[in-house]
């Protein structure tokens, strides 16, 4: 996936000038009041009354028949917009009505209730794909975003995800992360690590150890993963480059070397070691040297999660008799238990904005994905079908990937941060999903 191959069209500069009116568009939406605060989607999790923006995506058109289907291309965009939880798709007339200038007749679309229209065209020339993508504001009858991408035909899904990243940035002031990926382990006898697009496409095997592998977690640069593997018959921490070519031992002390997590700056790794018999949270260098022991006591401590600023660590301890989530300052201070309501709370993952933790709680005998603020307030249950666990935030904080067995076998799911849209994405059975950082 070479981004360098995807060059914006020179004409986009002209388009972006016109997009300076975007704020006006957003302001208008707010003042009209039908969809309040779309200009403040940075605060989307804080506004429980935020509605979904109705949007239309027309089939993409092409001058000549080719290997790609315009309806299928439109469905990539529709899927992205639905999955992030911020939009509802309004069926678009096919083809979209055009006015005498060849532009979409936005006036006639106003009656549909849609606030925005996405449409465009594509052209395949040999192995090269050129796509024009446009976002129109139906209410203001204006083009808001226009992009042209040229890239390898095989990267066609990536090209449309790129446009959707920008579309979300235009509408919410925060770029989307549809170009990011999810790592997970397959749920067969040997548990190899795989990477796929966030929506389940382009599945690729990364590890080939033929042993148990657990808990893949991304390096902040997106170039590799740390994971626990039994390559040497002990749960040791390993690093694998994302192309699978380099496999390097990181920590191989006696006992557990489990649940490794890179610090946000990538310079350290938090993990659980049982060098002193009881599993405790330690911080080590990326070369594997112990920097400090972070937790003490008689409980099993595991599953650390750094706050985005690196100042705090959430982790699981059963020191009070059952596994619960605690938060401790990394530079010293008291541990504070934040989960109080149920008897089994594990797997914390700190949101990219730092305001929430997503975790697994045992509720009525089954496991569900929940969120809570780092101070222990605002506990919410997001899932209720089957057993759901292993949650991991998307890098923009708008989506969560997790494992669910609601359809029978364990599969990787993606939902928006409020749980309104929950979709299976992996085409194979899998567990332990980890969402990548934004990939450059």
């Amino acid at each position: 996936m070479k981004i360098s191959r995807l060059t914006p069209h020179p004409g986009t500069t002209e388009l972006t000038n016109r997009l300076r009116f975007l704020l006006l568009w957003l302001t208008l939406i707010i003042s009209v009041g039908c969809q309040p605060a779309f200009g403040k989607l940075l605060l989307d999790l804080d506004n429980p009354n935020l509605g979904k923006m109705p949007i239309m995506v027309a089939d993409f058109s092409s001058n000549q028949p080719g290997p790609l289907n315009g309806a299928e291309l439109a469905s990539i965009i529709k899927n992205d917009l639905v999955m992030c939880g911020l939009f509802e798709i309004v069926p678009a007339p096919q083809p979209a009505p055009l006015n005498q200038n060849g532009e979409p007749d936005l006036n006639s679309l106003a009656r549909t209730g849609a606030q925005a229209l996405v449409m465009g065209s594509f052209n395949v020339n040999g192995n090269l794909l050129t796509v024009d993508c446009k976002l129109y504001d139906i209410g203001l009858q204006r083009l808001d975003l226009g992009k042209r991408y040229t890239g390898a035909l095989s990267d066609y899904r990536y090209i449309f995800h790129m446009f959707d990243d920008r579309l979300l940035e235009k509408i919410t002031n925060l770029q989307g992360c549809f170009t990011s990926k999810i790592a997970f382990m397959d749920d067969t006898k040997t548990r190899e690590i795989f990477v796929m697009d966030y929506d389940g496409y382009n599945l690729r095997q990364v590890s080939n150890t033929k042993t148990l592998n657990l808990s893949p977690k991304w390096a902040p640069d997106g170039k590799g993963l740390i994971f626990t593997s039994y390559i040497n018959r002990n749960p040791d921490l390993w690093y694998v480059s994302v192309d699978g070519q380099r496999v390097i031992p990181v920590s191989h002390r006696k006992g557990l070397n489990a649940s490794g997590r890179f610090s946000p700056d990538g310079n350290m790794i938090a993990l659980s070691l049982s060098v002193k018999a009881i599993p405790k949270i330690f911080i080590i260098s990326t070369e594997g040297n112990i920097i400090k022991q972070l937790t003490n006591g008689l409980g099993n401590d595991i599953s650390p999660s750094w706050s985005p600023d690196g100042a705090y660590m959430a982790y699981v301890s059963d020191q009070a008799g059952s596994p619960q989530i605690y938060v401790v300052p990394v530079n010293g201070g008291e541990s504070k238990r934040i989960t109080l309501t149920t008897s089994y709370n594990t797997d914390p993952d700190w949101s990219p904005r730092g305001d929430m933790l997503v975790f697994t709680a045992k509720i009525d005998g089954r496991f569900q994905v929940c969120v809570i603020r780092p101070d222990g307030s605002d506990f919410k249950v997001l899932t209720n079908k089957g057993t759901n666990q292993d949650p991991s935030w998307s890098p923009d904080g708008r989506m969560i990937t997790f494992t669910s067995n609601r359809d029978g076998s364990k599969r990787i799911f993606v939902m928006d941060a409020k749980g309104t849209v929950q979709t299976p994405v992996s085409h194979v059975s899998g567990r332990n999903p980890a969402w990548s950082p934004r990939l450059k």
């Binding site: 657990l214 018959r233 557990l256 599993p279 596994p323 594990t346 496991f367 567990r431």
Partner: protein, 165 residues
């Protein structure tokens, strides 16, 4: 109980006969032992030759859900295993800690480690030298019974003692 003792004596006899039969004919090569954590799932897995009898005579130690304390039954099983292991002072023992499928993979890794540690601590207290003992946790990754019910879970919450030369 009597038949189990018979089994041990039979195993012991097998070892003696095998050893007497000549050291050149080593049946078991540690390098060829099944790789723990890959394919072989606990009590069903046996090593070849003279280790086999010892391996099958050892009792698996079972636990309650989300618990690593030793019940009276667990302590009895360990006491039994100590008697077996004392007869073979050259054998190394890996305590493999396992959990049932419920809960989180990572937390279960910690729980399996504590279960294995609890068994090793007890083995040491009953006279098995600690330099013969080690632990490895497989969390909930290697169930002996793949079913999703209490009967299966009870079998899967275990510490399996794997012996090797």
């Amino acid at each position: 109980m009597d038949t189990r003792h018979l089994k041990i004596y039979a195993a012991a006899l097998l070892v003696i006969v095998t050893l007497a039969g000549g050291c050149a004919k080593k049946i078991v090569k540690p390098n060829e032992a099944p790789v723990p954590g890959f394919g072989m799932a606990g009590p069903g897995a046996v090593l070849e030759g003279e280790l086999q009898g010892v391996q099958t005579s050892l009792k698996t130690v079972y636990f309650d859900f989300d618990n690593y304390t030793l019940s009276p039954e667990a302590q009895a099983a360990i006491a039994y295993d100590v008697e077996v292991l004392k007869r073979y002072p050259n054998l190394m023992v890996v305590a493999e800690g396992h959990c049932d499928e419920r809960g989180t993979a990572e937390y279960n890794l910690a729980l399996g480690e504590r279960r294995a540690g609890a068994v090793v601590e007890r083995l040491t207290a009953l006279g098995i030298p600690s330099n013969r003992l080690s632990t490895v946790s497989f969390g909930s990754e290697l169930p002996v019974d793949p079913n999703h019910n209490e009967q299966a879970w009870a079998k899967n919450r275990r510490v399996y003692l794997r012996v090797s030369k």
